[in-house]
Structures are given as structure tokens and as C-alpha cells.
Amino acid sequence: MHLTNTQAIILTLLVNRGKSYGLELVKNSDGRLKRGTVYVLLQRLEEKGFVTSELEAPKEGQLGPPRRTYEATGHGARVLDAWRLYREVGALRLGGAM
């Protein structure tokens, strides 16, 4: 399963922080995620089965459309672990070659 760096950042945040919505992810990413792209990436992750989402019930006095919260699935967490391991092994190999 292919995972890009930005997708890995989103998955890491979701695994570490639990249920979040897009703006929370952007605010917690220290500028690594952008407001315009985070939802497109979340949709891609959902299509791959790495995250699930649900619409929050609108709160009283809330402005605008209801929010969608995202959560990492067990499959997504395992893929993230595999991705990290792959990166570590790759880095070790690169270090050994040098």
C-alpha cells in the first residue's frame, strides 16, 4: 500500500490524537498540512480504508455546514507502522551504503 509523506503525517496525527476534524489536523501539524489540501488527502485515505469519517450533529448556534470528523482505522494504523518500518530500514540501508 502506497503512502505519501503528507498522508503519513495525517495518519500519525489521527493515530496520536484520536478523532479530529480537518482544521484541528492543520493546526496541530505545525504548518506541514494546508487548509486546501487536507480534505482531498483525507478523502483519498478514506477511499483506501485507512480512515473513517462521520458527520457531527450540528450544535446549537453553530454557523455553517456540520463538521465531519475523521478517525484512523486499525488497518490505517498498521499501514502507518509498516510505512515507518520501511522508512527506518531504508534509512539504515542508505546509511550502511554510505
Binding site: Y21, K34, T37, V40, Q43, E46, L63, R67, R68
Partner: protein, 183 residues
């Protein structure tokens, strides 16, 4: 060439100054000034002529900007004789009735709804819009007007980049599908 558009402009707010500005605005011709008494308020109107509706709009925007009455809006209508009317509404004009303001991003969302399907809107653009409204009103509540303007710019860019990325993903998917069929 004879100007074709007539407009009646409400100049009750800063009557003399506004009338003066409209008189010196290029492309406009002030025909006469009228006065009427409605609900205990004396209203002053100026009848204008110009070659186009656009020119009238532009001239009024310019005059309003020059008179430091930047918080204004104007609406077009027709009077009993079928002439076009323009009503200027300043914040401190006639009454303290609050002005209805469209929430930010409404127009761009209308445009997006025209181009994208329900799924993309509910998964991508509605959440961006919700974040936009949250951040925008947070800044306004904190009295940070310049920040709210910056948020507006940032979110218009966000809408643009999301639609760009979405189109790119769509094209990439089709290419991959085509490649898999060929190979």
C-alpha cells in the same frame, strides 16, 4: 451621444457633500435634486444620467470611497415611473437597522456546487467552508479585522488549491486506469 440610463440616488447621508461628489464625477450628469418626507425622515435624492449602468455603479463606488463612507451597499430597483433607482445604505444612515451580510464563501460555494458532485462537496468543500466560517468569525469576534481579511484570502486560495488538486487526482486516476487496461 445621449446618456441612456437614469438613476435616483439617495443622498440623505451627507447630502451636500455627496451631491457635490456626484456632480464632479466624470461620466455622470446630475439632472435635479428631489426631497421627500417619509416616516418623519427627510430624504434627499439626486437624479442622475449616465451612458451605462456599470458607469453609475462605478461612479457611486468612487464617490462613496472618497467620502470615507466605505461601509455602504446599494441596491437597484425601479420607481413608479419605471425609472431605475439606486438606494445607498450607509451604516449610520437613517436608521440603526442592522445590515444583512452574506456569510463568507457563499458565492464561491455556489460556483463550486455548479461544477462538482455531491460527494466532493460534502467531503471536501463543505468542510473547508465550515472551517472558513469558524476562523473568520473567531477573528471578527476578537476584533481582528485585518486577520479576518487575511483569512478570507487564505480560504479563497484553499478553495482554489482543493479544486486544483481534486482535478489533478481525477485525471491521474483516469490515466492509471487507462494504463492498467493497456498493459
Amino acid at each position: 451621444m445621449r446618456p441612456r440610463f437614469q438613476a435616483i440616488v439617495d443622498v440623505s447621508h451627507r447630502q451636500k457633500f455627496f451631491t457635490f461628489l456626484l456632480r464632479i464625477t466624470p461620466g455622470l450628469q446630475v439632472i435635479d435634486a428631489q426631497e421627500s418626507w417619509i416616516f418623519g425622515t427627510n430624504l434627499h435624492y439626486v437624479r442622475l444620467e449616465a451612458s451605462s449602468k456599470k458607469r453609475i455603479k462605478k461612479a457611486i463606488s468612487w464617490a462613496a470611497a472618497v467620502s470615507w463612507n466605505k461601509r455602504y451597499s446599494y441596491s437597484f430597483g425601479r420607481d413608479a415611473q419605471g425609472r431605475m433607482t439606486i438606494t445607498m445604505v450607509g451604516y449610520d444612515f437613517v436608521t440603526d437597522t442592522p445590515k444583512l451580510v452574506r456569510s463568507p464563501g457563499t458565492r464561491i460555494m455556489r460556483l463550486i456546487r455548479f461544477f462538482y458532485g455531491k460527494k466532493s462537496i460534502s467531503r471536501i468543500f463543505d468542510p473547508i467552508h465550515a472551517d472558513f466560517i469558524e476562523e473568520y468569525f473567531e477573528a471578527l469576534e476578537a476584533g481582528e479585522k485585518s486577520k479576518s481579511r487575511w483569512i478570507r484570502v487564505r480560504y479563497y486560495w484553499a478553495f482554489l488549491s482543493a479544486s486544483g488538486l481534486l482535478s489533478f487526482v481525477g485525471v491521474a486516476k483516469k490515466v492509471v486506469k487507462f494504463w492498467q487496461q493497456v498493459a
